[in-house]
């Protein structure tokens, strides 16, 4: 069965990031033989004076294909992990959503979108989780992280939000690689221009620093932009600041 595991509000200014905890849970899932984890995505939620957050208000989510009888173990493990590993004073929340049997996938996606635009409450999050039949739990502090955790799962399910954790190792900046070669990589599902256009496989791309993919249509997409230099390849990988809005 396919699940989404989403966490939020686990850190403080000095602790490990929420993304690292998500990666550790994803790795544990495989180590324990419960299934196979996919990449972690980072989802930006609303920044607003009425919302308590450490520094950026983002949720982290990964999907996994697990054995059906492992669901309870995954939830128990992630719960105890968050309770143990989250920073003191943080407000961690956990959402585990079994996608295949989800009663109303549109509702969890809509919750995620709303959490990017308006201030949501814990009560709204728990009520939505009950209607949807997804696991939602808090593991310390105020438990405010349940809002972001549910939202992160919704945004990941929607497939058009967030940046993938980590960068794509394409060698030193300045190298040139074809779209076809980029598309063959396991960590790149598709290559597109920043405006969304697909590119021909024979088009060439200059590699920049810290190359990252974003989530579009459920895929890990490498976005490229018109090259700054007149000579050389027509495209270059998007600088990090250009990907800020994802």
């Amino acid at each position: 069965m396919r699940i989404l595991v989403s966490i939020d509000d686990t850190d403080d200014l000095e602790s490990r990031g929420t993304g690292e905890l998500a990666s550790l849970i994803a790795a544990d899932l495989e180590t324990n033989g419960w299934g196979k984890s996919s990449f972690v995505t980072r989802h930006q939620l609303l920044v607003h004076p009425d919302i308590p957050y450490t520094s950026h208000n983002s949720a982290m989510c990964f999907s996994a294909e697990i054995y059906a009888d492992a669901l309870d173990e995954v939830i128990a493990h992630a719960s105890s992990f968050l309770a143990r590993e989250s920073a003191a004073g943080s407000d961690p929340g956990l959402c585990v959503a079994a996608i295949d049997g989800l009663a109303a996938p549109d509702e969890i996606i809509a919750f995620g979108r709303r959490a990017k635009e308006s201030v949501m409450t814990k009560e709204e999050a728990y009520a939505a989780a009950r209607r949807l039949g997804v696991h939602l739990s808090e593991h310390g502090g105020t438990g405010q992280g349940v809002i972001g955790a549910l939202a992160g799962a919704g945004l990941r399910l929607g497939g058009n939000d967030g940046r993938l954790k980590g960068s794509i190792p394409l060698g030193p900046p300045g190298g040139v690689v074809s779209v076809a070669d980029l598309s063959r990589r396991e960590d790149v599902d598709a290559v597109r221009a920043f405006d969304g256009r697909p590119l021909d496989g024979n088009e060439m791309v200059r590699v920049g620093e810290k190359v990252k993919t974003v989530m579009l249509e459920g895929k890990a997409v490498l976005l490229v932009t018109a090259a700054a230099a007149a000579d050389g390849p027509a495209w270059q990988t998007c600088p990090r600041q250009q990907l800020k809005r994802y």
Binding site: L13, E14, R16, G17, G19, E20, V40, R42, V47, H48, P49, T54, S55, H56, N57, S58, M60, R163, K165, G166, S167, E209, K210, P239, R240, Q241, L243, K244
Partner: protein, 69 residues
């Protein structure tokens, strides 16, 4: 920039003044890079990439400079 250099917490140039944020970070003894997934500036040393910045609606705030002492 001048405000942050003078020890005030709020960055007065908004959320996308990349060059100024890099210049301030280069002068800041408290700068420490945030985790990779939370970095948004291309310059590794940038207030926008600092673990101690807190995003607000219009800008960022330096949490180190907010602390007493």
């Amino acid at each position: 920039m001048e405000q942050m250099e003078a020890g005030l917490p709020e960055f007065p140039r908004g959320t996308e003044d990349w060059s100024t944020a890099a210049r301030v970070a280069a002068l800041c003894a408290e700068f420490r890079p945030d985790v990779e997934e939370e970095q948004v500036a291309d310059e590794a040393g940038s207030c926008y990439n600092c673990r101690y910045r807190r995003w607000s609606v219009d800008s960022i705030t330096c949490c180190k400079r907010q602390r007493p002492g």
